[in-house]
């Protein structure tokens, strides 16, 4: 059974003009001890999805439907105090900028002790030992617990916020773009810390990112989001090497590979639809070079073969579409409204 299983989740932001359907039917699962990459562009709903699972949506956001079953319990049905019991202990969160996780006016030790003693119920001596252990676990010298966050480099801050998230031994950590703001070398080192913790602690993670290369490096499975919907998901190798959705195909050609060919890169023209009034058909149709009449009229159902899920009317033709998607001319022909 999965550690986390998200079924048809709907998250709306209430605005004066009506609800914005930021997440509009997301379905995926995370197995114990595995890393799921949640990938997509800004505004596709991936961060909202992470926050909804964590139960930390902004004021205007609310879960409008679906379920989030974690360790056998539906988080959507829990009261706030029941959720608080789970947060940190079973489920924790690493925000995009470590500065948001860390209190700038408190030394790291005080922040660690607060979580370990108040939330975890540890005595001071045990909490001090655990704080040092956590720092070592993420590759930081425990001496630095005496420092303030501003004395840390960006990579060190991100390590400290990982240590904080792991304080009470959670089973699942949701990390929102944890390496995006970091330089490549530091980025790689932080990803290596995360992979190491995954295997040593049997930790599961949801890694929210816009970068397919980060997914390829660190994740076991991937869910590709577009305009509030998971359009494709499966094992990373399967999805990267044999993508079934044209959006995934586009993403794999949109950015340079440092060792690959230097041929023309392929942009996906246009931008995602307004989720206040999402289109009736497939949400990617306006930017898709393979869209047909049916795609504009009717939303494609999610179809699963083996472990590979896709929501595309033309998934049967994927091998031919993949070949066409590699050519810049294919995408240049799309003129989004």
């Amino acid at each position: 059974m999965s550690l986390l299983s998200v079924e048809n989740l709907q998250v709306h932001y209430l605005t004066g003009a009506g609800p914005v359907r930021a997440v509009d039917g997301a379905t995926f699962a995370v197995a114990a001890g595995s890393i799921l990459g949640l990938v997509g562009e800004s505004g596709c709903g991936k961060s909202t999805l992470g926050r909804a699972i964590m139960g930390v949506l902004p004021d205007a956001g609310r879960i409008a439907g679906g379920s989030v079953v974690f360790e056998g319990r539906d988080l959507v049905a829990l009261t706030e105090s029941q959720r608080r019991e789970i947060r940190w202990r079973r489920l924790s969160f690493i925000p995009q900028t470590a500065m948001n996780a860390l209190d700038p006016v408190q030394r790291l030790r005080a922040q660690m002790l607060e979580v370990l003693m108040e939330r975890g119920g540890l005595a001071r001596a045990a909490a001090n030992d655990r704080a040092a252990e956590l720092f070592r676990m993420v590759g930081l010298d425990p001496v630095r617990l005496a420092d303030y966050p501003h004395q840390f480099s960006g990579g060190m801050r991100q390590r400290a916020s990982i240590a904080l998230a792991l304080a009470l031994n959670p089973a699942l950590v949701i990390a929102d773009e944890p390496v995006t703001a970091l330089d490549v070398i530091v980025q790689r080192q932080v990803l290596d810390v995360m992979r190491d913790l995954q295997s040593r602690l049997n930790l599961a993670m949801i890694l929210v990112t816009h970068d397919m290369a980060v997914v390829a490096y660190a994740c076991d499975r991937v869910a590709v989001m577009y305009a509030g919907i998971v359009v494709e998901s499966g094992p990373v190798r399967e999805v990267l090497e044999r993508p079934l959705h044209p959006y995934t195909m586009g993403l794999t050609h949109a950015f340079p590979d440092v060792h690959g060919e230097t041929g023309e890169l392929v942009p996906i023209e246009g931008s995602p639809p307004n989720l206040l009034h999402p289109p009736t058909g497939c949400r990617f149709a306006a930017r898709c070079p393979f869209a047909q009449t049916r795609c504009h009229e009717q939303a494609p159902p999610a179809v699963t073969e083996g472990e590979h899920m896709v929501a595309c009317w033309r998934a049967d033709e994927a091998p031919a579409l993949r070949k066409a998607a590699a050519s810049p001319a294919t995408w240049a022909a799309v003129v989004p409204a």
Binding site: E41, A213, L240, A254, P256, T262
Partner: protein, 319 residues
């Protein structure tokens, strides 16, 4: 080919309280018309300060900047105006590079007015540059405000504003890092096309070697204020010579499942490195450091065809 921009022994020293920080030291480089040079390194390596000195947004404390052969190192602000029209910066963040109260038309007319281009030429120039950045028909865009445009469209306007005075040099500092992956390729393709079609000299600054490889034939790698390696980009990536370049290349994530996940050949982090003194600035993180690296800083020297490396390991190595 004569250089559009050239730096000779460029340096910048900041004094903060009692400490002196050598942000850039002894940087020499040149870029010809139609050529693109990449400057690669981590935050704090001096790449942005170097670019700001080349554009004379910052006055160097050592060395010289030559633009089309003329020394502009210490030229006063008022006398720099003609240079400003010919050397343009493409801003990193399109979301705050543009005045939100200006229409696109006014955004593009502003530099023309500043550089004294006759009013009669404005409309034709604006139309031409909008075509170059593929915002067509121009009439559909010119009366809009920045908030009505997507990130990719805004970055096209930012590029148009840089191109409209007719520069010979453009400097782009992380030109796509704030944009979504799906639109980055479009901007990079436009930058490549503008350089090729207009014969511009271009300098790209990034921490991302994959991006640099796509747009630059030649690359310099900077570490703590100094150039540690220079060479044709493809060769530099295929066969890096400096231990830092090797780590940088190994760290670039690749979108493939089968890849090398071995630990990086580098130790510690940037903040562990010595801030001054003698010796190689990379020695504390270098897996090959030897006593000599502590005693003496390696000079940047020729290491084969069009390549330069600053590393003691390279001395005596076949070039």
């Amino acid at each position: 080919m004569s250089a559009v921009i050239e730096a000779r022994g460029l340096g910048k020293t900041f004094r903060t309280g009692r400490r002196t920080v050598h942000a850039v030291q002894d940087v020499s480089l040149s870029v010809s018309a139609g050529e693109a040079l990449g400057i690669v390194g981590e935050s704090g390596c001096g790449k942005t300060t170097t670019a700001r000195m080349l554009l004379r947004l910052e006055e160097p404390t050592a060395g010289q900047v030559l633009f089309e052969g003329e020394d502009i190192t210490h030229r006063r602000a008022a006398a720099l105006l003609p240079f400003r029209a010919r050397a343009q910066l493409v801003f990193q963040n399109p979301f705050d590079a543009l005045n939100p109260r200006f229409t696109i038309r006014r955004t593009l007319a502003e530099p023309l007015r500043n550089f004294g281009i006759p009013e009669a030429e404005h409309a034709a120039r604006i139309d031409a540059v909008m075509g170059r950045v593929r915002l067509t028909p121009a009439s559909a865009w010119l009366d809009r405000f920045p908030h009505e445009l997507s990130g990719g469209q805004l970055q096209r306007v930012v590029l148009a504003r840089a191109l409209i005075p007719g520069p010979r040099l453009i400097v782009a500092d992380e030109p796509v890092s704030m944009l979504d992956v799906s639109v980055r390729a479009g901007i990079l393709n436009l930058l490549r096309a503008a350089r090729d079609e207009l014969g511009l000299a271009a300098i790209y600054i990034s921490h991302d070697l994959a991006l640099i490889r796509y747009v630059c034939e030649r690359t310099v790698v900077m570490y703590l204020g100094r150039i540690v390696e220079e060479g044709p980009t493809a060769e530099l990536i295929a066969a890096p010579r400096h231990p830092y370049t090797r780590a940088l290349v190994a760290a670039v994530p690749v979108p493939r499942v089968d890849q090398d996940r071995a630990a990086l050949p580098i130790r510690g982090s940037l903040s562990d490195s010595p801030l001054g003194g003698t010796g190689c600035a990379f020695r504390d993180r270098c897996p090959h450091a030897m006593p000599r690296c502590e005693a003496e800083a390696p000079a940047l020297r020729e290491a084969g065809q069009a390549r330069r490396v600053a590393c003691h390991l390279e001395e005596g190595a076949p070039s």
